[in-house]
Each structure stands twice: as C-alpha cells, then as structure tokens.
C-alpha cells in the first residue's frame, strides 16, 4: 500500500489540473470541491455510475467475435451489437428443437422468434440458432443467466448478434455445417460424431494400419 502512495504523486503532477477542472465541471464551477447534491437525480445516478467496479455487468459485454460477412464496418457492427435484441446461441446438439430453445430462453422474457441454424447442404439442424427478444433487457438477462448453462445436457454459449438476415441461418463450413465442425478432432455424438476433416482422415488411417 505504501508503494502506491509514492507512485501516485507523479501522476498527480500530470493530471492535477485535469482533475480539478473536471470536478469543477461536474459539480458547478463555483463550488470548488464541495458537492451539491440538491439537484436532479441525474447527479445521484452519476455518482453511482462513476463506480465502475460496483456496477460491473460484464456478462452483457460484447465479445471479440465479429461476423466477417457483416455488411458494414467494425464500428457499425459494434453499434448494432450494443443495441441488439438478438442472440447467437452456439454448441447446441443437432437434436435440440426450437421448442426446447423456446422453453429455456423464454425464462428471460417473451421470445419474438427463433431461427434454427441449418446445414447449408442438408438443410438439417447443425448446432446453432438465433434467439430474438422483443426488448433488449430480456436479451441481457439471457446473457447473464442462460449463457454458460446447459440445454440438452450441453453447456451452451450465447453472444450478441447484429441481427438476423436471410442467409445467416446457414453454416459456413465447407461441408455445409459450422466451421468449428470442420476441423475439430474430438468425437461428439450430438454433433455428427467426428469433425468433417477427421472423418475424412480416419479411413486413410485405417488403410495405413492394415
């Protein structure tokens, strides 16, 4: 703790003016360092809002993922993500139905629609879906309380989506399903068994062995 006390003064030298000026702007130019709270509740909200550590709500932050097919720049995509009512849901079993998704996600609010992700070639479920709510608040609760829990015995993952557009319901992997199922090496019976690449490799292996 004492170390911090010594390191702070250096920053003091650089930031001193800014701190005084900004505190002045916040609380009225003439009141110096005293606080005038006898005003709008905005001020008391501003008080709480300033404490980032206490009002942390990290479960609803946007992730690092950006849709490469998104028509628009990064900034536009992020803006949409931050106001979206739509969630991408991943790691579903191929057998998970729309009704199951509705039952689970319905616990956070009224669901506007569910679009089950499909294999582009087979047109069968390929393990993801979109869930759209009527309002943002319900979607936020899903990010807080459904993300990372189980559906059909699998931990599912939810993430903000910029909004469903026709065509986005299809997997983008070469074989028609999701990209992640192209390259994975593990055996997942609920997602078609081995990854597509691994499936192709396995017969070769067998041939080599025998």
């Amino acid at each position: 703790m004492r170390r911090l006390a010594h390191s702070l003064p250096e920053i003091h030298k650089k930031k001193k003016k800014t701190a005084l000026v900004s505190s002045g702007r916040l609380f009225g130019a003439h009141h110096g360092l005293s606080m005038d709270l006898s005003g709008a509740s905005e001020k008391s909200k501003a008080m709480a809002a300033k404490l980032n550590a206490l009002t942390s709500d990290s479960y609803i932050d946007i992730s690092q993922y950006r849709d490469q097919h998104f028509k628009g720049n990064r900034y536009e995509q992020e803006k949409l993500l931050k106001q979206s009512n739509t969630l991408y849901v991943g790691n579903l079993s191929f057998y998970t139905t729309e009704e199951q998704v509705h039952e689970l996600f319905g616990k956070c609010g009224d669901v506007k629609r569910i679009i089950i992700g499909l294999d582009k070639i087979k047109k069968t479920a390929c393990g993801f879906c979109f869930v759209e709510y009527y309002n943002r608040n319900d979607a936020e609760n899903a990010m807080r309380f459904v993300n990372g829990t189980r559906l059909d015995d699998r931990i599912i993952r939810t993430d903000w989506d910029a909004g469903f557009k026709e065509g986005r319901q299809y997997g983008r992997g070469k074989s028609g399903g999701q990209v992640r199922d192209e390259y994975r090496q593990d055996y997942d019976p609920a997602r078609g068994g081995y990854g597509k690449l691994a499936q192709q490799q396995r017969p070769t292996e067998a041939r080599n062995t025998f």
Partner: protein
Amino acid sequence: MSRRRHSDDSDGGQPHKRRRSEPIEIEDRLESLICRVGEKSTSSLESNLEGLAGVLEADLPNYKSKILRILCSVARLLPEKLTVYSTLVGLLNARNYNFGGEFVEAMIRQLKETLKNNLYNEAVYLVRFLSDLVNCHVIAAPSMVAMFENFVSVTQEEDVPQVRSDWFVYVVLSCLPWVGKELYEKKDAEVDRLLSQIEGYLKRRVKTHVPMLQVWSADKPHPQEEYLDCLWAQIQKLKKDRWQERHILRPYIAFDSVLCEALQHNLPPFTPPGHMPDARYPMPRVIFRMFDYTDAPEGPVMPGSHSVERFVIEENINCIIKTHWKERKTCAAQLLSYPGKSKIPLNYHIVEVVFGQLFQLPAPPHIDVMYTTLLIELCKLQPGSLPQVLAQATEMLYMRLDTMNTSCIDKLINWFAHHLSNFQFRWSWDDWADCLSVDREMPKPKFVKEVLEKSMRLSYHQRIVDIVPATFSTLIPAEPLFIYKYTEETGSLLPGYPMAITVQNAIKNKATNEEILIILKEVCHPNQDDDDDEAESFNPLKIDVFLQTLLHMAAKSCSHSFSALGKFHEILKALTESDEGKLHILKVVYDVWKNHPQMIAVLVDKMIRTQIVDCAAVANWLFSQDMAHEFTRLYIWEILHSTIRKMNKHVQKIQKELEEAKDKLEKQQHKKRDSGDDEDMERGSEDEEAQLEEQIERLQEKVESAQSEQKNLFLVIFQRFIMLLTEHLVRCETGSVDVSTHWYKNCIDRLQQIFLMHHQTIQQYMGTLENLLFTAELDPHILAVYQQFCALQLVFSAFSLW
C-alpha cells in the same frame, strides 16, 4: 475488482474482459483501492485499512471531492462491507477532523437525495452507516439518538400510509444491532423511550394483509412472521442480552486507541421529509424461514429465529445478492467468502435466503432465472456440501407442499425442473413414492407431474421415461404429439373430412387466401338446414376443418406454425370476426395440441399479437366449461398471466406514445414562442401544431380504448372466478360437504395471485370492481380474498377505500 475473476472461459460463460486491465486514471485507482479493501489479501484487514487511510489522507488536498464521492457511494452500494468502510472513515476523521465533518454532511445530503428518489432500501444502508460511525467516534451518540427520535416521531403522523411509518421504524430497529450497545451506554433512558414508542406503534398496526404474503398457510414448523414483528422480537432479545452482539465484524475495535482520541461531530438535526403522494415505500413482507438449528446436523449451530445474528446474516446475504446479482460467479464467490462463515452454517443461510427471495410475494426482487443460475454456480464452487443442502431443502419443500401457496409451488416447479436439467435430471425419485398412492389432484403428485412436464419441455419425452422409475409412469406427461381428427383411419366418416382433404390439397398447391375462402364457403353450418346467406356468421365446422388441417400441415415446429398463421392471416381473421369464432379457434388449438401445452401457449401468444383473438377471448376460453378439467394445470395460468401482461404492455406502449406526442407539442409551442415574429415560420409551425394536436387526440382515444379493454379483461377474469367459486360453494353447502377441497384451495390461491401479480394495474379499476363484482352480497369466502387485497392496498394509501 470483479473483472479479474472472469478469465476462465472453460464453460463458455464469461466474455473477454475489457482491454484496460489496470486503472490508469486517478479516480479509477482510488475507486479500485477503496472498493477492494476488505477483499481477500495477504495482509490483515487492519493493516490494509491503516495503509489505505494513509494513502487517502495524503490525497485529500487534491482529490477530496472524489474521495468523498467514492466513500458516499460505497456506503450506499456496498452495505455488506459497512463496518470496513465506517472504520476507514473513522481513521480518516481521526487524522483530519474537517474531512470527517464534510463526509457526514455529504452523507446527510445523499440521504435526503435517496429519500427524494424513492430509494428507500438504499436510504436504510446510509442511516445504518451513520449509526456505525458512532462506534468509530465520528458521530456523537446523542445526535444519533436525536435522529432516531425524529424518525420514530413519524409514527405520530396522521393520514399517512402505514408503509411510511413502517419504514422509519424499520430503519431505527435495523441499526440497533450495530449501534444499540453504544447508544444504550450513553443514552439509555432515551433509547428505552424510543423502544416503548415503537412497541406502542407496532401494537396499533393493521396486519390483515399478511396472510396474502405468506409462503405457507401453516405456522409449523416455522411461522413466517411479518418482518417488523420479527425484527422487534430480535431487538427485544438483543436488549435482554444487554446489547451483546457477536456476529458483526467490527474492525474499528482494533483501532480503538486511535479512534477514541478523535473528535466527534454532531449530526445536524434531520427532519424526515414529509409524505408525498408519489412516494413509493417498500412493500410489506414476511420473513421466510425454512431451517433451524436441527436442520444443520454437523458443524456450527444456526442462530435462532429471534436472534439478532440471524437478522444480520440474512441482511448481509441479501445485500451481497443485491450488489452482485448481475454477475453470478462474483455473487457466488462473494456469498461463499462471507466473513465469519466458519461460525455459521453458511450454506443453509444462503439457501434459505435465496429461496426466500424466489418465493417472495408479490414478486421476487430479481428475475426468477437468476436464482436458478446462482444456485448452480454455488453448487459448482462447493460441490462437496452445497448440493446436499439444496437436496435437503428440496425434500423439505416437497414435504410441505400441502400448505404452500400455489404461486410459490409454481416457482418451485420451474426452479426444480430447470435445476435438474443442468444435472442430467438426477434425483432420488423413489424417495417420493408416497405421491403415487394418493389422488392425482393432491399437491404432491401434482407437483411431480408438473415438474416432469417442465423437464420434458427442456428435453424430450423418452428422456423423462428414462429418468423416473417405472412406478412413476402414471405421472409421466403424454407424448407431445399433434392430434389430427381428419385422418384416413379415424376421420373419414366425419362431416368435415372431404373438405379437409380439399383444403389440404389447396394449401399444398399454393392456393391464395381468396381461393381457400371460396372453398370454405361450401362448408355447411352443422346446425343449419337451409342455405341462408350466413357466410359471415360463426361456423364452427369451417373453423375446425381449416385450422385443424392447417396446423396439422405446420405441426413440425413453432416456426412452421407461425408461418402458417401468418400466411393465412386473412382467412383466420375472417373466421374469427365474432366472439364465438374467437372462442372456437382457441378450442381447436387446444383439441389438436392438448398433449403439447407449450405449443398451445406459443400459438395463443402469436394469435393475440396478430389480433386473431383478443385477450378477453383467451380469458373466457380458459374459464370455459371445456377447459374445466385443465383448470388446475400450471400452463393454464401461465397463459392467463402472459395474456394479462400483453394487455398491460399494450396500454403502457400507447400511453408512452401519447406522452411523447404531448412532449413534442410542448416543445413545438416553446419553439414558436421563441421564434419571434417570422410569419412564415409561424404558419409552418401552426400546421405542425395542428397535426400534433390531431395525433394527440387520436392517441388519447386509443389510450381510452385500450384501458377500456384492459378493464374489461379484469372484469371478465374476476367475474369468471366468482362464478366458479360460487358454484363450488353452493354445491358444497347443499351437499353438506367441506368446501376446502384441493381444487378450492387452488382456485382461491389463483384468484389471489391475479390480485398480487397485477396489483398496480388493478388499483385503477377498484371502484368498478367493487360496484359490479365484489359487493357485500358476495359469499364471505370470496369476499375475504378481495378484502385482504384491499388491506394490502390500504397500507399503501392514506385513505380508506370503502
């Protein structure tokens, strides 16, 4: 503070933390230092507080306002760490008397602000903080007593809502565990006088509303006391124990030699703000108890229900949940690192408080699913102990289903099924074999049935068959399959069969709505002999043939069904123009999907949103004779409450549009005033004004119409309840049978649930309800529910409703 914990991505839970992992701005650093003190650390709490006090003292010349602001905020937002921060303020006051004074002033200003903004729960924490500052020699005890005296004097006010005076009494009582000893040592006569005033007030209070808020109707094994009564008993016991309180962590004791040298400040005289009509005091509540010392067999003993320790522990757990509910990992971690946890059966306390919140009436403080996820997180962190406590709790709740409020049973069903779905549905079902030997309408088998149904919704039918013992097969829900009457095997002789085939082919061949309507014109009314031109009137067979066929073709999924409803919206609207048409369409939806209640619910929702049916039709349908045999099933009530919510949201939406239009007009009028005398501008803005005024008139009509619909919906619902209950009561009386059947209890609970869940909306229509429905001629059993509800409303308002 909390972001560091979220680096574990293994269960896909946490998104990546923000780029900035080290606070670089002074304010963030100060915030971080202050917020983090008291967390797990290699140094002792005392040395951390000492160090932090030193750092802050050094920063006071340049950052006083920031420090003041942060400390005021943690006092309000981190009540579970009250004594840590009061000690910190004590140390700062000892080093800098002026700062101590400024802090107290800032707290008083903040207190006034929070009261003005209806943040009563936070105001309690502020007053409690001030009272603990007495222990830290920052505030002089007599001035604190004076503040308490001002608070208690609110009980002398006339014509104020009971919840107002309740709150002021609650604040005083709830501070006493922290500061009772110190105040009594300095001002025993005054404290005694305060307590006796409070005792007098508590005796005068109205408590008719309390049964409505209780989770169980029985007092054994644990009475659920009204919250002020419970706290009063706890404070009385504390006083009897000479104010010895041993649970609260008090870091200031270690600094006594430093603190007792400090000069104290006097609290400025604080007049409680007067009652305002828009004040929203906290709702009355009962204290939920399900455990006592006999339930935690090993380890530390659970403090008794009237011990002040119990109060403090429950308060702290409630505070932790309030602070961290949005971040379940942090919340669980904070709960499990409760200071002093080794001396209490912490898991039991946590489970009790969590269920207490979940079952709270009228509504829990947070969304239901938060509690499910929090309990899962707690199980993850304490896999060796918490799941057992949870299982024990579930077992206890099951044993007491007979007297549990139906609304709470609903919550238990939803929680248990969702919880099980995260743990492969593993449960010792055989332990509940007793439910198999009683009537299926009894609470226990009913509960198991509903749990299995909800579990099936989250999985699939075969799964449920697999997880329960064979003996439970009669409780397993039916396979959720579509029931089509016009099949070749069983329906070919039905009057509508040929038409069903025609319609099916037409749809397959992509016929238009008009074409299909023409086809349907051929469907004869089953009760009609002549060919009256009654094409527009209600024809149940037409509806049946069309809808059964359509839904059958779209039965694959919800989306398919929605698509079908959308595509043939025109036809459906035409068929349901009359009220009978609306009723019949709902009947058909039930007929085809009766084994898949979830599908019924989503279709009804869609049909309301696309205005194929209206809310009143849904209410009438649910209460109809055809649905009587389903009346006690959970899905019926979920549909009804969902319907009421949609109605409420609709009214709110239009009201908001009206407000926005009115605001726009006001702004427009201001602009006109300010724009000077530019003629062209004036004329243009006059047009705009006229447009807005017209819009406002239209919206006003819309609001009135929506409110009328809303009032009608509640009238329909209450009317139907009264009819059903009266029938039952009359039948029992003539047959000399006891009225209290399970069906009756269920029905009364459901009526109560309507009042509780929508009390704010219903309030507006109380006059009509009383004049038309809940008149004095009504059977006293039914009237009692209404009167209890009125009692609940009464504690909120100053004036009698009769």
